[in-house]
């Protein structure tokens, strides 16, 4: 077998393997894509409601932006003292810092918190906003 023949055969075999492998994966991904985004029939919303879309690479300010919630509220509920470093950390990094050895705690807490915000407004740990007393009518 000449060298050229070996190279040609190797190219054809490699091409078939890559084509079949990625072809099947692309087909599966395309089927999955059909139910989402513009193909899903619903326009993508700027403010999210589905908490399963929160990922551990996201930061608290980004999650806050996505779900239209103040970042301070998330930090407060996580019982994390908000500082500049924590703001730039991902949920995974915050988890490593505050819950070492326990995977996914911060992610689960943030998801539960965003869910709670949507269903009942700010959850209990929040200080309730003081309602201003009605001012007395001014005597003429």
């Amino acid at each position: 077998m000449t060298r050229k023949r070996i190279v040609t055969t190797a190219l054809i075999l490699t091409g078939i393997i890559i084509t079949v492998f990625f072809g099947l994966r692309a087909f599966r991904a395309f089927k999955h894509m059909e139910g989402h985004g513009p193909f899903g029939g619903k326009p993508p919303a700027a403010n999210q409601t589905d908490v399963s879309e929160i990922r551990d690479w996201m930061t608290v300010p980004y999650v806050a932006h996505m779900y239209d919630v103040p970042p301070k509220a998330i930090f407060k509920n996580l019982e994390i003292h908000e500082d500049n470093k924590d703001e730039k950390m991902s949920l995974a990094q915050l988890n490593e810092k505050y819950y070492p050895g326990q995977d996914g705690v911060v992610l689960a807490q943030v998801q539960a918190l965003m869910q709670a915000f949507q269903t009942q407004g700010p959850p209990p740990p929040f200080p309730s906003t003081p309602v201003p007393a009605p001012s007395a009518p001014v005597a003429p």
Binding site: V7, L11, I12, L13, G15, I18, A29, M58, M66
Partner: protein
């Protein structure tokens, strides 16, 4: 490993915005194995959510990619002397070089957004084969613009569900690469078969 890199870069792009996005595409275009397409799709989605300005991100990303491509073209050009010395006399190299010069524009444009795995080798070959820099940059600009607008646009259209697009695009890129490899293999087999037939006919004639 690639998931870790992607997650790290996504977090940093959220934190530092356009400069980090431009830097990622710049380093990717220079040959570092960074998830450039994933970042473009994700940034399209972040822009849709109002987290970044889509125009600003597109311009900075395009500049980063163009600069990286120009440098990898330069690297190929720098190694031109060595390649010429080593393979310059080979007929296969001369034929490959001529063939590249004829279809270089197509290779440059398509490897920017369709077969992105071959973008760096194309840059190096273009630089090493003496392809004109200005012409390279023109086709590079066209291809990278399609990449940024198409992939970023898909991220924008899918919003927070951009991960499904990214999954499809990465697998589709692999599929196109597989078809390209298969095509080259079939083309070589066909050439080899024709050569064999010619040789047999010549033998019969004599």
């Amino acid at each position: 490993m690639s998931d870790t890199i992607s997650s790290f870069l996504l977090t940093q792009v959220i934190n530092y915005g356009a400069p980090l996005f431009g830097l990622t595409l710049f380093l990717g275009a220079m040959g570092l194995p960074l998830p450039g397409s994933l970042m473009v799709i994700a940034v399209g989605s972040f822009s849709q959510q109002g987290y970044f300005s889509s125009v600003q991100m597109a311009i900075v990303g395009l500049l980063g990619a163009l600069l990286g491509d120009a440098i990898s073209f330069g690297m190929g050009n720098y190694g031109k002397g060595w390649v010429q010395k080593k393979f310059g006399g080979s007929s296969a190299w001369i034929s490959a070089q001529e063939s590249f010069q004829r279809r270089a524009w197509l290779a440059i444009v398509l490897t920017r957004f369709l077969i992105t795995a071959l973008a760096i080798p194309t840059n190096l070959i273009a630089g090493g084969s003496g392809y004109k820099f200005r012409r390279f940059m023109l086709y590079d600009f066209l291809g990278e613009s399609v990449w940024i607008l198409l992939y970023g646009g898909l991220g924008y259209a899918f919003g927070s569900q951009w991960e499904v697009v990214s999954d499809f695009i990465s697998n589709f890129g692999g599929l196109v690469l597989g078809i390209a490899v298969l095509g080259v293999g079939i083309w070589m087999a066909k050439n080899w078969q024709e050569k064999l037939q010619r040789e047999t006919q010549e033998e019969l004639a004599t």
